[in-house]
């Protein structure tokens, strides 16, 4: 199409800038929610949390972010409708990025509760349904996504509840919780390693293997993931062996030393959390970008099977890292200081439950909200009588965020959509 040969470069540049800006926003604001629990429970310093976040957010985005990106890129809208009018899809995706970015800026400035995922999904549905045609939306897929927003916090809560109960039974209720903690915590570390390796092998490296003519069966992957899990557990055991019991800490709270052991575990679950967050939330920024790039580079042929160029995920991961470095550390400090009641034995259960849920959702290509999932996980630990006090008003604010963010993202996106159409003379 002539249109794309003429304007292709500028469209990609706009999309890349908007995508990078969104990724920056995720790094600046959103990562702090994922990592704040580790900082708040004092398992990690802010510096350590930032370092872990940079490495594992990037790894998560690059290794396991493909599925969600592809959902955002082509799962929500019906490509067939756009086959005759690829320009509209490009404008729409650009508008979605700008709308979500703008809305997040406004909301953060005003202090409203919003979710990146909901903004971008709302925006894409908005331009497709209203700007183009109601049939342009894959309503089936959209309803699955919306259902996953309800289900993911529930699953995370159930997992965290079970994890905390297992910790109670194996460690906290035993006569010698310190020794028991050292004995059983490597098992949880194994799960962390296994989980990340499994998702990476099954989803992230699929294309790499295919390109090299390799194929791993599920059993092969499970075996490799187990080996990774064991290696992680061994590293963890070494770190645990360096924790010596300090009786002077126990005068005030007899579990002070047990918590020190759990703090080591929390380093590992923080990595999992960052990985999970990277795998799911980067897609919000790079999904629309990927759509624009693939349409433009194929000259307007939407149906063309194109592999997403790796630079797109790199850009998303890079944006997050820059966001963390420029602003995220401040937000993380603020959030960490506010979370003082969460001890590592609870924080790990919440993080692992949430990370597992998010990673599985990423593997299935469902864009969910990491923050909401983590809230569900924390409530799960609370239901197991593990947390001193939880403020249920947050749950209300999540519902509010749904009610407000979806129409706002959609509305803004439609405005941008018509602006684009007008300025490119369509």
């Amino acid at each position: 199409m002539e249109f794309f040969t003429e304007y292709g470069a500028i469209l990609i540049i706009i999309a890349a800038m908007a995508g990078f800006f969104m990724a920056w926003g995720v790094g600046a604001n959103d990562v702090a929610n994922a990592m704040g629990t580790s900082v708040g429970s004092k398992a990690l310093t802010i510096k350590q949390a930032i370092l872990i976040a940079m490495v594992f957010e990037f790894a998560g985005a690059y290794l396991a972010g493909g599925e969600v990106t592809s959902t955002i890129r082509k799962g929500i809208v019906d490509s067939a409708i756009f086959a005759e009018r690829p320009n509209d899809l490009v404008f729409g995706m650009l508008s979605a990025l700008l709308a979500a970015g703008t809305w997040l800026m406004i909301a953060s400035f005003m202090g409203w509760p919003v979710s990146t995922t909901h903004s971008i999904v709302g925006a894409i549905v908005g331009f497709a349904a209203i700007g183009v045609s109601v049939d342009a939306v894959h309503w089936g897929k959209v309803s699955t996504i919306v259902a996953s927003w309800v289900v993911s916090p529930v699953i995370a809560g159930t997992l965290s509840f079970a994890l905390f109960r297992s910790v109670q039974r194996l460690i906290l209720l035993q006569d010698d919780p310190f020794t028991k903690a050292k004995r059983y915590i490597p098992i949880y570390m194994f799960f962390v390693g296994f989980l990340i390796a499994m998702v990476t092998l099954l989803k992230g490296l699929k294309h790499v293997f295919k390109d090299n003519g390799m194929a791993l069966t599920f059993a092969d992957s499970a075996l490799i993931a187990s080996v990774v899990g064991i290696v992680v557990a061994i590293i963890g055991s070494y770190l645990l062996s360096r924790i010596k019991r300090d009786l002077s800490l126990e005068t005030d709270n007899r579990f002070a030393n047990v918590e020190r052991v759990f703090a080591v575990l929390m380093i590992f679950t923080a990595c999992a959390m960052a990985f999970a967050h990277g795998s799911n939330d980067v897609a919000n920024a790079v999904g629309p970008l990927a759509a624009v790039v693939s349409i433009v580079s194929s000259g307007g042929d939407i149906a063309a099977k194109s592999i997403m160029p790796p630079w797109i995920l790199l850009l998303g991961g890079g944006g997050i890292v820059v966001g963390l470095a420029t602003y995220g550390f401040k937000v993380m400090g603020t959030i960490g200081r506010k979370i003082t009641e969460l001890t590592p034995s609870r924080g790990f259960a919440a993080e692992l439950g949430a990370a597992a849920t998010v990673v599985i959702a990423s593997g299935t290509g469902l864009p969910i909200s990491t923050t909401h999932t983590l809230v569900g996980a924390v409530l799960g630990v609370g239901l197991a009588r593990g947390i001193g006090a939880l403020n249920l008003r947050m749950v209300g604010s999540i519902f509010l965020s749904w009610l407000v963010t979806l129409p706002a993202g959609a509305g803004l996106c439609i405005i941008f959509f018509y602006i684009f159409k007008a300025s490119f003379g369509q």
């Binding site: 704040g36 409203w112 937000v331 506010k338 924390v378």
Partner: protein, 226 residues
């Protein structure tokens, strides 16, 4: 930039530590009862006034802590223990501080002289009652460990034992109270009737300290049952 979507909003302030701080303040009042009584036995009313001022100050700080505690207990809080039980515990803890202040206030106001014959029993009774409050304090101090274990297992057994000890101590106080009343009854005809009425009143209130402490124990037991 405001952060209302931050995960930190979900964490409320745990009620355990503030509850323990309040109990510590109430116990400080109780601990001053002994020096106060000893000062009155020595007929040293200046010193007694000093001690009473300290008790008043501690009672005031307990009051402030109670108010703060209540202010941080909105109904939207989700806690492992019931809000009603916690509010009821802090009211009882506060009663300990109030009772102590009332007891000393009446003695000081009336410059009440406890008869020499009763003094040993009287101080023994008061110390024993204070000990009951200390045992209640011990149970309250276990609440953070209870939270750590998620209100289960051997920690629950341990706290239940503390509460049994507390109940046993309260019975000892009851016996001492009966003995003291009997002794007072034997000599009451030699004393001014008004003084005697107030003495019975004071004995009642010191016994009330132990009763309140036991009620705190009962309430902690309720926390375990849920």
């Amino acid at each position: 930039m405001a952060l209302s979507n931050s995960i930190s909003n979900i964490f409320g302030v745990s009620p355990i530590k503030p509850l323990q701080n309040h109990m510590a303040a109430a116990i400080k009042c109780v601990d001053l009862l002994d020096p106060f009584l000893k000062a009155t036995f020595e007929d040293n009313w200046d010193k007694a006034t000093d001690v009473f001022d300290k008790i008043s100050a501690e009672e005031q700080s307990a009051d402030d802590l109670k108010k703060q505690f209540r202010m941080h207990m909105p109904k939207s809080l989700f806690m492992p223990v019931s809000r009603g039980d916690l509010l009821s515990i802090i009211t009882k803890q506060d009663n300990i501080a109030n009772l102590t202040k009332d007891i000393c206030g009446i003695i000081l106001g009336r410059k009440m002289a406890i008869p020499k014959k009763l003094q040993d029993d009287f101080i023994g009774f008061a110390e024993s009652s204070a000990e009951t409050c200390h045992k209640a304090h011990g149970a309250i101090n276990e609440l953070d460990e209870l939270l750590e274990t998620g209100f289960a297992g051997s920690e629950v057994k341990f706290v239940k034992k503390l509460i049994r000890d507390l109940a046993a101590q309260e019975q000892k106080v009851d016996k001492k109270e009966q003995k003291l009343r009997k002794k007072l009854f034997n000599i009451e005809t030699d004393l001014s009737p008004i003084d005697v009425i107030f003495m019975y009143n004071i004995i009642d209130q010191i016994g009330g300290l132990a009763d309140t402490a036991e009620l705190i124990g009962n309430q902690v037991e309720l926390l375990l049952a849920k």
